[in-house]
């Protein structure tokens, strides 16, 4: 039995080695396995060979000669046996941990939505919309309208919430950032230039990120007192790593990682960012207001990173002189006060985890299930879905007015405006060294310039990317 186990293992290792070019010597010393020469010296090991053939016939109808085909088949057989054993012992497997979440409740009306948000309850909400304005408005509305006991702020907060949404192609920059500096506004990929990417200034701080449907946005809401910048990301790291280790194959307690040889685990860096194998896979930002807080972040699962880097403006390396047509040496930003992005190398989790975590749905599921484990009495924590066809924010704002409820959230009417996107920019001076013109810009408007060509009216004309190199 034991001998055969090693034989099978060796076969698996051989196939594994052939395709992965990776050594497993830390697990087994291959050269000294007792059956190293089983194949070449059949006669010398006739007794073992008989035994081998017996089992080979039992499991492989085509015989043991086609090793690769046979080993594929044997994985299937072994998997089914494993499944039986796991069921018998009640060991959780990745498959079973997915199925728990059949009961997502759809929110039926704007009134029901407001009722839910204003109630003292913890819940998870998944948006069915991929519109960034809708999703950011939802987040802001929930954040501003979640109840908190202001007369006794030191008491335990009862209404932690997790919001999950996936946005279509969108470039999202921080509240106090300069889009002219952070985003390649001349890029053909942007919607305003005929492309697909939206451009949105968000309400939280931090730097510029790009979303698409291969990326999941999570947002964890809690009280200001409970707020901790690293808490939720470390929670995600633990959850995802647990998931990754569930899919790990163990042979007699030794983890064997052949199928997923390229799998990497997540970790948290000193800035609180989630990294994997040295790449940043998630960007975070925070908002604190009304004695509450949220931490929202992105998680790259399977995004179009090539396009992302074409939209981003900051240098990836200090030595860079050009980037997608931007000539850093021909321009200068000065007298600026805005918040700068830090460009980091990024990668998708699909690649980093060797396809173990490969879809946004998978990650959403992990978070939905994981959120409940954060609290005792977790059975009361429900998961809701919201869709723009049923709950529209114009209706929600109106319903608040009708019900005489105080609502300070206005994302749905504010986020998409030019005023919010451009006029909210911190003041800066831009110098175009190609034509020698400089522009001092305050609240998005040119207040001082030596440009005589572009018919600029001081304190009136909006600064445009056309003035740039």
């Amino acid at each position: 039995m034991n001998k055969l186990n090693y034989f099978l293992l060796r076969k698996r290792l051989n196939t594994g080695l052939a395709c992965q070019q990776r050594t497993y010597s830390n697990y087994f010393d291959l050269k000294n396995t007792p059956f190293e020469n089983v194949k070449s010296n059949i006669k010398e090991h006739a007794d073992v060979n008989d035994l081998n053939n017996m089992y080979t016939k039992m499991f492989y109808s085509q015989g043991g000669s086609k090793e690769i085909n046979a080993s594929e088949k044997d994985v299937n057989d072994l998997d089914s046996i494993n499944r039986e054993i796991n069921e018998f012992f009640g060991t959780p497997t990745p498959e079973t941990s997915y199925e728990e979440n059949a009961n997502i409740e759809e929110i039926e009306s704007p009134q029901k939505f407001i009722e839910l948000i204003k109630s003292d309850s913890k819940f998870c909400i998944v948006s069915k919309s991929t519109d960034p304005i809708y999703n950011l408005s939802m987040e802001d509305f929930i954040f501003r309208n979640t109840p908190i006991d202001k007369s006794n702020l030191a008491s335990t907060f009862k209404s932690q919430r997790l919001m999950l949404y996936v946005n279509e192609k969108t470039c999202v920059f921080g509240k106090n950032q300069n889009p002219f500096k952070e985003v390649n506004l001349k890029s053909k990929l942007l919607k305003k230039n005929g492309g697909a990417y939206n451009l949105v200034r968000r309400y939280s701080g931090g730097g510029t990120v790009v979303h698409d449907t291969g990326n999941v946005n999570y947002s964890y809401l809690t009280s200001r007192n409970e707020f901790d910048q690293k808490f939720f990301n470390s929670f995600i790291v633990n959850l995802v790593n647990k998931h990754l280790s569930l899919t790990q194959t163990h042979v007699l307690d030794v983890p064997i990682d052949i199928a997923n040889a390229q799998k990497n685990y997540l970790s948290l860096n000193e800035r609180g960012d989630i990294t994997c194998n040295g790449y940043k896979v998630s960007g975070s930002a925070f908002k604190i207001a009304l004695n509450k807080s949220y931490h929202h972040g992105t998680m790259l699962i399977n995004s179009n990173l090539k396009e992302f880097s074409k939209i981003m403006r900051p240098k990836l390396k200090k030595s860079e002189v050009t980037n997608n047509g931007i000539r850093y040496d021909l321009e200068e930003f000065s007298e600026e006060t805005d918040v700068n992005s830090v460009r980091s190398p990024i990668e998708n989790l699909k690649i980093l985890t060797g396809d173990v975590l490969s879809t946004p749905e998978q990650f959403i599921q992990i978070l939905v299930n994981g959120f409940k484990t954060l609290f005792s009495h977790s059975s009361n924590i429900k998961t809701y879905s919201i869709s723009p066809g049923v709950v529209n924010f114009v209706d929600v704002y109106e319903a608040c007015r009708d019900l005489n409820l105080k609502n300070t959230s206005k994302g749905f009417v504010e986020l998409a405006t030019e005023d919010w996107t451009y006029r909210h920019t911190p003041s800066f001076k831009y110098t175009n060294k190609k034509n020698g013109f400089y522009y001092r810009v305050k609240k998005g408007v040119v207040v001082d310039t030596n440009d005589t060509e572009n018919k600029i009216e001081l304190n009136k004309t909006l600064f445009k990317e056309d003035f740039m190199v």
Binding site: N5, H250, T337
Partner: protein, 177 residues
């Protein structure tokens, strides 16, 4: 014959949770070193200030009861919590802001923190020029030099009760528990 698949949460997970989960790092507020006392000497005009109120959202408002003119800022406790301040955004001069409404925000380490006024005010001056040049001043001198607005208090009424220093410090103890 079969491979045993065992579910193991492994040491990896244990190690990480020890490092991070529920590892709340908090700045302790201490009554003894008086970090949240308004440093009147560091305000542009401190003569006549005879009333100082604090809010549960960590702002202070120091003004003269008669002329109603004074200064508004965030407490050192809040500043310590925020970490390095990178940007300050404030309401413009002449704006009138209702009690409990936002007067601007302070950004620190990827976090946008909204600031509120306890009373209805009119903005007479804002300190944005100084604070945009040196945003870190908010972290260091929140109770004085890094005042945010010079204001005229229009109505001394607030939805939420305002606190005096003693009550504010007691409240902070509750926050840190």
């Amino acid at each position: 014959m079969f491979r045993l698949t065992t579910f193991k949460p492994l040491n990896l997970l244990k190690q990480q949770s020890r490092l991070s989960t529920f590892n709340f790092i908090r700045y302790q507020s201490t009554c003894t070193n008086k970090v949240n006392v308004v440093n009147l000497a560091k305000l542009p005009e401190s003569k006549g200030i005879n009333n100082i109120v604090y809010t549960s959202s960590h702002e202070w408002l120091a003004y003269n009861k008669e002329s109603k003119i004074g200064y508004l800022g965030i407490t050192q406790y809040a500043a310590n919590h925020m970490g390095d301040v990178t940007y300050v955004e404030l309401s413009d001069v002449e704006e009138v802001i209702e009690a409990g409404e936002s007067i601007g925000s302070v950004e620190s380490v990827k976090s946008s923190n909204e600031i509120y006024t306890p009373y209805k005010i009119e903005v007479l001056e804002n300190n944005m020029d100084t604070l945009n040049d040196k945003p870190q001043l908010v972290s260091e001198e929140a109770m004085g030099e890094a005042w945010l607005l010079k204001v005229k208090v229009l109505e001394e009424q607030s939805e939420e009760r305002v606190l005096d220093l003693e009550k504010y410090e007691t409240y902070l103890k509750g926050c840190d528990e």
